[in-house]
Amino acid sequence: MPVTAVLILAAGTFAIRIAGPLLRDRVTLPEKVQELMSASATVLLLALVAVSALTNGKQFGGWALAIGVVVGGVVAWRKAPFVAVIVLAAATTAGLRLLGVA
């Protein structure tokens, strides 16, 4: 993660944020565009979840990893606190690896 990339992302994010208050008097976004924007955020996040849970970047990433993420997902779905989700997912994967599951 180069510093340049962080700074570009930071500058771009700031530009997006300040555009709203500055353009407010002149621009109204169609509802359809707003819906697409929020849907695209979810699409990107779930795609990254799928790729990083099931692959190592090229092929299947192993059962220990996949099962750990599924456990975390189920726990999150049952409204467990965020920390519990993370700890249980990591612990499941670590435990499975300890047992020799790839």
Partner: protein, 218 residues
């Protein structure tokens, strides 16, 4: 608001620890959190780079993710205050939570107070959390042994679940995830995640028929 701030601190600590676990120096998640201050895109960027993706893909994905702040800013507008300094500083504090707190207030003065209180509180709790997590993460050695590679997607899944309740968003997201998974063996890391946006063709905007005939008195 204290509960929200505490939640941000904990999420920040996870972000710090996971980032360091994925191989970044401790100050990198700290710099990201101060400068970007948008948790989802930070997780996203680190996740893409950790998976071997290019920084360019990470930046593009992060920006698309943060595009949702534009309608927030349009909706919230003058709540920040009209002076240039208030707009610059206030814009940096524009996040899901501060927007929600401000929108919940009808009175403009109270909305402004709520916005700034929430934004400032979360800025501090988030960054302190990230710093603590990053330093703690340094103490952890081999990340695969501790299953930290599972913590990352699990954290993002937890962030995503509430939006998946909406059936149209869920269809688009599942289509996108399928596209990303099937293209992963053939494309450079990071690109499949961006390609998932094609899944938006499965997104149907809400039909207007929910109010079939506007009644005269409304």
């Amino acid at each position: 608001m204290a509960a929200v701030a505490l939640g941000a601190a904990v999420t920040g600590a996870s972000f710090g620890a996971i980032s360091v676990g994925s191989g970044l120096p401790w100050w990198m998640p700290v710099l990201m959190s101060v400068a970007i201050f948008a948790g989802g895109s930070q997780f996203m960027a680190v996740g893409i780079v950790a998976a071997g993706g290019s920084p360019a893909a990470a930046v593009v994905a992060g920006l698309v993710l943060n595009a949702r702040h534009l309608p927030f800013g349009l909706a919230i507008g003058d709540v920040l205050g009209r002076s240039p300094l208030a707009r610059v500083v206030g814009s940096h504090l524009l996040i899901d939570e501060s927007t929600a707190f401000a929108m919940a207030q009808k009175d403009p003065a109270r909305a402004r107070a709520a916005y700034w209180a929430c934004g400032v509180a979360l800025f501090f709790s988030w960054n302190v959390g990230v710093l603590v997590g990053a330093l703690a993460g340094q103490a952890i050695g081999d990340t695969a042994t501790f299953g930290l590679d599972a913590a990352f997607p699990a954290a993002m899944l937890a962030l995503t679940l509430p939006s998946l309740k909406d059936a149209r968003t869920r269809n688009a997201a599942l289509t996108g995830a399928a596209i990303a998974l099937t293209t992963t063996p053939f494309l450079p890391a990071g690109v499949p995640v961006l390609l998932a946006l094609v899944g938006l063709v499965a997104f149907r905007t809400k039909k207007k028929e929910e109010a079939p005939c506007p009644s005269p008195q409304s």
